[in-house]
């Protein structure tokens, strides 16, 4: 055993040396891709309100939304994925956008290994990212959002880290099932 350990450490050492001897390439791939944090139960929400445009970015581990993170196999799992997709396609309801603001969805996109079967799965964790661009003709009436529907629809979501840019500047806050409202 000690021998194999020694061999292993030698191997690691030489590998390290070999790396160190490599001339430093200042290329975009020198460091590899950054790994995003992945914590079940928590999600990120970015909101930016500028004039009539409200941008929403919502990123969550698939576990919070779907209940599993592997590719959908059974019919029940596929139905569940379809249901989640349908919910995510209704951002006005999901994020509690007040109807008085008269917002309509200008663009939206959903990403995630579970949602696009073509995407190469095989990661241990899988996340779902949703982006929306809303155009609100009465943006003045848009004083805040209420995520009660989101916490109700996806009860596995326990906290949402919010980064918000509004008319009063930047804010950071944390929402949970007991605190669902935010103000711009």
């Amino acid at each position: 055993m000690p021998r194999s350990l020694l061999a292993l450490s030698l191997l690691l050492l030489t590998a390290g040396l070999a790396r160190a001897e490599e001339p430093h390439r200042h290329s975009e791939h020198a460091h590899g891709e950054a790994l995003a944090a992945h914590e079940h139960g928590s999600a990120q929400l970015n909101l930016a309100l500028d004039g009539e445009i409200l941008e929403i970015e919502f990123a969550s581990p698939a576990m919070n939304l779907v209940g599993f993170e592997h590719a959908a196999r059974s019919d029940a799992e596929q139905a569940r994925v379809a249901e989640v997709r349908a919910r995510l396609e209704q951002p006005l309801d999901l994020f509690g956008v007040p109807s008085a603001a008269r917002c309509r969805v200008q663009e939206h996109s959903l990403h995630g290994a579970l949602l696009d079967p073509d995407e190469v799965a095989g990661h241990e964790h899988s996340a779902i990212e949703a982006r929306y661009r809303l155009q609100c003709s009465a943006a003045d009436a848009l004083e805040g959002l209420n995520l009660a529907a989101l916490f109700g629809t996806f009860p596995a979501t326990r906290k949402i880290q919010v980064q918000l840019i509004g008319p009063h500047g930047q804010q950071g806050l944390e929402l949970g099932p007991e605190r669902t409202a935010l103000e711009f």
Partner: protein, 421 residues
């Protein structure tokens, strides 16, 4: 009214104990208000230090850490970032302006910031206020020019035209001084109430020139030394900086650019939204603030209980007083009212003296606090919240005064005039 006069007259008779009680309450009130003041002003001054900056970018560490070292000059950077990374994002189509920041040197305890003239143009604080030069001009072509923050110039009595020597590192007393390359003061900024006041600003080229002949972390010796004249002719492009500030052309772009920076493959970078990081800092500090607040509340309570003790202890000595009052026709509730009024008067006097102490303290500590911590305590009237606290203390004195009042009420019934002295 008669009751109040009687209560005051009785207090005057016991003025030494009464004064001590008032003083104890005053000190506790002063402490409570001071904690509250420092808390709100620290928040306000932190929040007004940076405005109009969409993203702060530094080496990948924590958002609070990056915010503290880049903007508030608290703590140190974990790593530097490459000049190429700065150029890459400064030329990003969505970026309107970019300010590089390079830290690490100091002058007599004040930090030196290497930057570009863009700093004076785009750095905003408070409510979108730009930096203003009180005297002189911003640094220009010569790398050995320095622009001082208001505090630095005032504390060290520098005037434009003076020559100063910067030191390597940020310790108060530094062993390595850049004395071969003195800097000339060309401008002094107006007071901002932010860390800018305590900073010396030099051009990035100057920062580079200071260290151009350094080898292995020490200055070169003998012929390898490059003097200021020769350094001026060198290419003084920095290789690394500490952090940079970005202003974008639209707020909507912020998250996209943030993601792009955080996913940048050239080197590990971290982009933060200053407002969000500040909130994170508050949530960290919130616990400590609450603890301080609770402690000062307890001190106020101690002061009030001290008052209660003093009044209760005086009851025995004052049986004669009560008996005389009763004999003159005072009813038991008069006696009770007298004691409640006494407590009220003590608390009120304590609060007024406490306020006086607070303002005296602010007057005395304003200068040193600003110099040492950059914390500006304004000489302002109490806020609505402070009035509320004071009102609550005054109200709390009433039920506390009720305790001796109840006892005196009972005693005056049973003792009556049959008191044996």
């Amino acid at each position: 009214m008669h009751l109040l006069r009687l209560a005051l007259a009785s207090l005057t008779n016991r003025r030494f104990t009464a004064l001590l009680t008032v003083f104890a309450i005053a000190l506790s009130v002063c402490l409570l208000l001071a904690v509250e003041r420092v808390r709100t002003e620290a928040r306000a001054s932190f929040a007004s230090t940076l405005s109009g900056t969409d993203l702060i970018v530094g080496a990948r560490s924590g958002p609070v850490n990056l915010l503290l070292y880049s903007v508030f000059r608290i703590g140190n950077a974990t790593n530097n970032i490459r000049w190429e990374s700065f150029r890459h994002f400064a030329e990003h189509p969505r970026v309107k302006w970019a300010i590089p920041l390079s830290l690490g040197d100091s002058h007599r305890g004040y930090r030196v910031l290497g930057t570009t003239p863009a700093y004076f143009e785009h750095y905003h604080y408070g409510r979108q206020q730009p930096l203003e030069l009180k005297e002189g001009r911003a640094f220009a072509a010569d790398p050995f020019e320095v622009v001082l923050g208001a505090e630095v110039a005032e504390a060290l009595h520098y005037r434009p035209g003076d020559e100063i020597v910067l030191a390597h590192g940020v310790a108060k007393i530094s062993l390595t001084r850049h004395d071969d390359k003195p800097f000339r003061v060309v401008g002094i900024l107006g007071r901002t109430g932010t860390p800018v006041d305590r900073t010396l600003h030099i051009d990035l080229a100057g920062m580079e020139a200071l260290h151009v002949d350094w080898r292995g972390g020490v200055p070169a010796q003998g012929s390898a030394r490059i003097d200021a004249e020769r350094a001026r002719r060198l290419d003084l492009q920095p290789k690394a900086i500490t952090a940079f500030l970005l202003g974008l052309d639209s707020k909507i772009a912020t998250f996209a650019v943030q993601r792009e920076i955080n996913d940048y493959l050239g080197e590990p970078l971290l982009a933060i939204l200053p407002g969000v990081a500040l909130q994170e800092l508050w949530s960290l500090m919130g616990t400590a603030e609450q603890a301080l607040f609770v402690i000062s509340l307890c001190v106020v309570l101690t002061g009030l209980i001290g008052m209660l003790t003093a009044i209760l202890a005086s009851l025995n000595e004052r049986r004669r007083e009560m008996a005389i009052l009763r004999s003159l026709g005072a009813r038991p509730w008069h006696i009770a009212g007298l004691l409640v009024l006494e407590a009220f008067a003590l608390a009120l006097a304590g609060i007024l003296l406490g306020l006086a102490l607070l303002y005296l303290g602010i007057l005395l500590a304003q200068g040193p606090l600003q110099a040492a911590y950059g914390l500006y305590l304004p000489f302002a009237a109490p806020s609505a919240y402070e009035w509320l606290l004071l009102g609550a203390i005054l109200l709390a004195a009433l039920p506390l005064g009720g305790v001796p009042a109840w006892r005196a009420y009972r005693q005056s019934l049973s003792d009556g005039l049959s008191i044996r002295l």
